[in-house]
Symmetry: C2
Subunit: 361 residues, 2 copies
């Protein structure tokens, strides 16, 4: 097991990463004010892992007063599903000290986290991410949210967990496609701030995607360390945290434009990062070689480097115009000036963005 | 105009109190990052005051991109109404910098504040309270929430405004009954931590309830100063902020037990404070004379000092058992040891609570 700390003063918390952690209830018990918890999971993950988690918690003295298995899928990351979680918390008489434990991927973590942030104005929250995407991104850093028909993550809060437990064993049942989608966010850390990690991934991608436990633990650990450093420096995305959105403005257009169904988030991010790289190269910030390396790593990993065929460039721009990252009406882009060095700018001509999108067809 | 500051580090903010402030848009403009705002008000207050507020904002360079008049009443402080606010914000393309300005009483402020706290994970928020209750309590301190059928303020967040503007002129149209209900919270500050203010109120209650502008400004100012000091010391209610809940555990039982319809919040707080005083006296903490002074001031001000006739003592206790202020399953009470000195304890025999409730019939 490897452990790192997200340094946020009195709200600092540990992230434990490794195999065989699901039953290690003492890791969670150590972070809770009272020995009571509710597990929020989904219909896919719950039957596989909730019992092992609950047994570990009970063995560590934590009473699990309720468990709720939400329907699986991004389309259920809604205010309607959120209300069912509130109802369950109230039914089980959860009080201000009762912890909410999210067991699942990003949808479960984001929604349960927002429920924890807002139930009685905030109760203790624990993340037990079971997908690679959630382990390296969603579960770390305190962004919680639900979707609105008009846009992803439109309703949410910044709310930090008390502890994150990432058990590599839960990745055993993750479909290959989802493992690859999570890998897109791993690559992102290399691209925005860690060139040595990017080089490591160019070498180790086959081992990671082949689920080698050592390679997985290392990839998750180095991803979380990067994210933790960014979050510690800029919890509320006033500055460098925005760099974590590399590719995401394009990705949100892909996801919204295709109705949140055909594309996994990580797949959209992969294509979006190529669009960001193409934009960067056209503006003279990024070398052709760096774009090629980026495309090559993603492609070799089975990730898309082109957007959806049916989505017109006009539609991309229309959606990006209302993207919540827009400040004062202007769209801000995360661009690259090298592998391992990103920056934010609003000085991007529309024509260049159009060309970059067209270059990814 | 009197101004005080709620001292919360980089989230500190001013409270401006006085007559003729509604049109002083520059007080709000000075606190906003970009000159765009949405006004959230209700069908009663909107027609009376929203135009003057909007004109003052426009004159100060703030563009009001939308206004929404919610239905009036505590029963509309719901998730359903909240969704209509989210819809309106999205329709008007409000971005992360667009401010939400709450114009109204506690219901509008709590609900609009929760919308501001959670729309795109938090946008700038401004309170323009138009009832005495909201001016001395709800608008100050950053508690936001909506109700759930199972309990008041069950869903919410701690989220501070950028500025509070309390215009005494808006109290001109406030019904007498609501003015008195707000006065209950004014009395509360005297009871929990300011004996000189309590004595001032014993003398000035007729002038305040007679809407003398000077007396009103002074009462609101001294109330806000007390609340600001408490909030600065304990923003998230880990300690002394709980003292602000004097009478509120009983009051919530009254409100929940009567379906949130017959009793105004301040009226329930008045009766609840008498119950807390009666509990304190029975346990030997408070003198008979102090109880008498408390009852006398509230009664002279036209406030109830007895609970609803139809609510059984068993039902009080049942509701109080699930009250969200319960920690670890035990109910914590705010009690008095003198006028101007309160404390929190969970060491209260059920029989004593029963007697205190019975003493207020």
């Amino acid at each position: 097991m490897k452990t790192l700390t997200v340094d946020l003063g009195e709200r600092s918390y540990p992230i434990h990463i490794g195999p065989e952690l699901l039953g290690a209830g003492e890791l969670i018990a150590a972070a809770l004010p009272t020995p009571r918890a509710v597990i929020v999971t989904n219909e896919t993950v719950g039957p596989l892992y909730a019992q092992r988690l609950a047994e570990g918690l009970e063995a560590a003295g934590i009473k699990v007063v309720a468990r709720t298995d939400l329907p699986d899928g991004e389309q259920h990351k809604s205010l309607a599903t959120l209300e069912t979680v509130y109802d369950r918390l109230l039914e089980s008489r959860a009080d201000r000290q009762t912890a909410v434990i999210a067991l699942g991927g990003g949808v479960v973590g984001d929604l349960a986290g927002f429920a924890a942030a807002t139930y009685q104005r905030g109760v203790p929250f624990v993340q037990v991410p079971t997908t690679l995407l959630a382990q390296v991104d969603a579960a770390v850093g305190g962004k919680t949210a639900v979707n609105h028909p008009r846009g992803k993550n439109m309703i949410g809060a910044f709310y930090q967990p008390r502890v994150v437990v990432a058990d590599m064993d839960t990745l055993a049942t993750l479909p290959d496609r989802e493992l690859r989608a999570g890998f897109a966010e791993v690559v992102k850390y290399g691209l925005i701030r860690d060139p040595a990690f990017f080089a490591y991934l160019e070498e180790q991608a086959p081992a990671i995607l082949g689920r080698d436990p050592g390679a997985l633990t290392e990839a998750v650990y180095r991803s979380c360390r990067n994210k933790a450093e960014v979050v510690a420096a800029d919890e509320r995305e006033a500055g460098q945290r925005a760099l974590l959105n590399l590719g995401h403005t394009f990705a949100h257009a892909i996801e919204t434009g295709t109705g949140y169904t055909d594309w996994l988030h990580g797949e959209a991010v992969a294509a979006g990062m190529v669009m960001a790289a193409e934009t960067s190269r056209r503006l003279g910030f990024l070398s052709e070689n760096a774009v090629t390396r980026t495309r090559a790593l993603l492609e070799r990993s089975g990730l898309p480097v082109a957007g959806p065929a049916g989505l017109s460039t006009d539609r991309y721009l229309e959606i990006m115009g209302v993207d919540k990252k827009a400040a004062g009406g202007r769209v801000r882009y995360v661009l690259l000036e090298d592998i391992g060095r990103a920056f934010v700018t609003a000085e991007v001509p529309e024509a260049t963005v159009r060309e970059a999108i067209e270059a990814c067809r």
